[in-house]
Symmetry: C2
Subunit: 323 residues, 2 copies
């Protein structure tokens, strides 16, 4: 006689703690998380968040241990009304020692505004493909470089750090797959111009780990040190974290992510967008890779922001810990 | 003068195709997907699906190219009413040549029912930890083995294949982290008993890639060939796919997943459960690892099943392609 098994039946729950730490070979000791929630996240939310809430969000993110907080954008408010309060936000910001607050700057007019606001670290946003350059910037790739040249030159002359985003590095919704050499050539040109860091973006979330390896290898072979390459993955197809793991194994030590998974790619509205910072930190904590981030405090912050936005956080970790 | 940049603004959408294929070193040529949607998926859904729908689901999964379809369970209907129709389902099943239809069998009574229904491939469901064995089976680990011994012996004597699930291999909601040697010892004992395959399960979804490597290495060191080890990851904390990548790099070639991400772990109800087959196939297609699965057809099937269940599919790929 056997007692019936309860396989799969609910037998009671208990709080799950943080992940166990077991290191894996071939990974960096530390990773810098470039937190994009306040800019890339909020600019893709349909709700326009009041500046006070943004300021509290940034303050909470710094308290959670994040060291790089992309704060806002000087893109024209016509295009991104969610960030129309950039000046007000920067004027109200209480900067935490040791935390960097880069700001996205699309062009010379944006740089004027950034300099007037006392910004010390900017990011420009380029395309790896002709079609996206045309669609997003209304320019050819050559015209894109011509637009960025004076921006980067002036920023560097003023002593600013410049990061260059390269979007559509792994696939473009109009062109399809993007050649690794194409990404490498665009990235190298931006570095030659004066960018100190590239962020290789999978804007539509289609990349897989072999492609990630090939694009990073091609960019490094073109002469960009791996230490100057960051990765920016979207979780549209659920691939962001395995792609991140592949990049870390190649020596990448800067990873972009968005607290709570805020925001997303407007070309795949039905799906999630940016890699969630919590999901990234869970993996890195488990791997014993130092980030300086307190996962519990960060999850609290994202749960708080999700309430402000009136919807659950896309992050799986946030939903599991705070859902 | 510069035209305002439209960075991040919606500039029109286009259908995204399947991922580009770029192989990565150190991965297997092919992977067998053990599709658990009809059993592990549906037993964790609150909706009880009619047997006709289950039969159409299994038929569609076979059409999509899946070669192993865990069909149902002979667990007592008191515990899993969702699968109370196991006999009816197997009687109505039109088996496709080359497709295997394993069935979960918890104990001797379940084996009687499976044999009477003509089942040729069974799976048993054990625990890696004392506490979960007690909670789920009301047994100590030794009593768990004593319960399985006659089941496996009779099944093997009847010429059946036997897979052994080992649950809570990476964390247990009551015990916390689980030692790799503990998992290896439990797994080895089940293999010695006659199981031809182990499925190492992260039932609560907490594992990270270093831990995956350590548990697989310990199990292999205990004498279980890596070829006989399958992995079963849950996406509760978003880690399933990076854990899968780590397992593949160690030579694992059988991966469990659930079409559309059906089902989930009852201990983390607010979050998602099984790794979605589509998210797995996206990565494997991108890596050029052969699975035999037609991703488009599979996504159609999961979208169809999501309609039957009256809620979106948890799979990110399904939402992105069909949302």
């Amino acid at each position: 006689m056997t007692t019936p098994s309860r396989v799969g039946a609910d037998v009671g729950a208990r709080e799950v703690g943080l992940p166990a730490t077991v290191r894996a070979d071939g990974l960096p000791e530390r990773v810098t998380i470039w937190e994009v929630g306040a800019r890339d996240g909020l600019q893709n939310e349909s709700t326009v968040v009041p500046v006070e809430v943004k300021l509290e969000f940034l303050s909470r993110l710094a308290d959670a241990g994040l060291g790089v907080l992309e704060a806002t954008s000087f893109v024209h408010p016509k295009w991104v009304p969610q960030l129309a309060d950039a000046e007000e936000l920067l004027a109200g910001l209480t900067k935490v020692d040791g935390v960097s607050y880069p700001v996205l700057v699309p062009n010379e007019r944006g740089l004027d505004r950034a300099l007037a606001a006392g910004v010390r670290h900017i990011a420009i946003f380029g395309s790896a493909t002709e079609t996206f350059a045309k669609r997003n910037l209304n320019r050819t790739l050559d015209e894109q470089f011509a637009m960025f040249e004076p921006v980067v030159a002036r920023a560097r002359a003023e002593g600013l750090d410049v990061r260059a985003y390269v979007s559509m590095c792994f696939g473009d919704p109009w062109e399809g797959p993007v050649a690794a050499d194409q990404v490498a050539a665009v990235g190298k040109r931006l570095v030659d111009m004066g960018a100190s860091q590239l962020s290789l973006g999978d804007t539509i979330g289609v990349a897989t780990p072999g492609q990630v390896e090939s694009v990073i290898a091609a960019t490094a072979a073109a002469g960009v040190p791996v230490a100057d390459i960051a990765v920016h993955f979207h979780d549209t197809y659920g691939q962001a974290l395995s792609n991140t793991l592949a990049a870390l194994r190649l020596g990448v030590t800067t990873v972009d992510s968005s607290a709570g998974g805020l925001g997303g790619c407007p070309y795949a509205e039905s799906a999630t967008g940016n890699l969630a910072t919590e999901d990234l930190v869970w993996m890195l904590d488990g791997l014993g890779v130092h980030t300086g981030v307190d996962l519990d405090r960060l999850a609290d912050t994202s749960a708080w922001m999700a309430e402000r936005l009136g919807r659950p956080a896309p992050s799986r970790v946030v939903r599991a810990l705070r859902g």
